[in-house]
């Protein structure tokens, strides 16, 4: 019972915080709200017997990545977003095109609901199968990560290296020119 209450509590916090993230004009507030959303998601991961993912979520996402965002917002002196000025002459903003887009968005919602209804055993409890002790242990996660997913793990290290070089090249000021 308390499990259900906690699930709804953290789901509502995650959804509300995310909705407020895109409702803010000031990116600083958006980042703070996104950290709250990530915290609520970490709580959901704990409920799903994934404590290691929850900790990584808080340390890597709410910690490292969000600090990177905060750093950039402070560095750029966080210009407030201008109020939307709708350019009515733009070809994509004509009423017929907009109505077509709204129709497509409605169809997408219908399709999503249909897919969710048709998921196999969507109504069975999420923790009905599997051994909780094995799933939630870091030992199991580490063993699978370094054996079955070894290639992906190594490829990820290359990705990180490429991203690091790319970030330095893109952000470096051109001095010699």
């Amino acid at each position: 019972m308390s499990e259900t209450i906690l699930f709804y509590l953290f789901s509502v916090v995650a959804i509300l915080a995310s909705a407020l993230v895109i409702g803010q004009r000031n990116p600083m507030y958006s980042i703070m709200l996104l950290i709250a959303s990530f915290g609520a998601l970490a709580a959901l991961y704990i409920q799903l017997d994934a404590p290691f993912v929850a900790m990584a979520q808080i340390i890597v996402y709410a910690g490292a990545i969000m600090v990177l965002f905060l750093f950039v917002v402070m560095l750029l002196n966080a210009p407030q977003e201008d109020a939307a000025v709708w350019d009515r002459t733009h070809p994509l903003r004509r009423p017929g095109v907009a109505r077509f887009g709204a129709l497509l968005a409605g169809l997408l919602i219908v399709q999503l609901v249909w897919a969710l209804v048709r998921v196999n055993d969507a109504s069975t409890a999420v923790n009905a199968r599997g051994d909780v002790a094995a799933i939630s242990s870091v030992r199991t996660v580490g063993r699978v990560l370094f054996t079955d997913y070894m290639f992906a793990f190594e490829a990820t290290s290359i990705l990180i290296l490429v991203a690091m070089v790319g970030a330095v090249v893109l952000a470096a000021r051109e001095t010699a020119s």
Binding site: I15, V21, S123, V126, L159, I160
Partner: protein
């Protein structure tokens, strides 16, 4: 006991919020934050499905998604800094020309 479908619904709502943010906001930083919301929504789906299957594969894919998100944030923010240096603006409408 929470059914699997509930987690999928939460994830779908979060993903929709992220998508709406990408289209509605006119600030490059907020657009990148919306992409993070979408990645997190997908992470929740992975972990929930993995738990329902009774194995740890979902959690492992989540780690890879986090790594890609970190790389994406680093490169994306570097691009934002470079663009801001040129135009003194974070409005995506200011960057409509490829060459300047």
């Amino acid at each position: 006991m929470i059914p699997l479908g509930h987690y999928l619904v939460v994830s779908a709502i979060l993903f929709a919020i992220g998508t709406a943010g990408v289209f509605l906001r006119r600030n490059l930083i907020t657009i990148l934050l919306s992409i993070e919301i979408m990645l997190n929504a997908v992470n929740l789906t992975f972990v929930a499905f993995g738990r329902a299957q009774g194995n740890v594969d979902g959690q492992i894919i989540t780690f890879f998604v986090m790594t890609v998100a970190a790389a994406e944030a680093a490169v994306g923010l570097a691009i934002v800094i470079a663009l801001f240096r040129h135009r003194e603006s974070l409005n995506p409408d200011a960057f409509t020309s490829l060459k300047w």
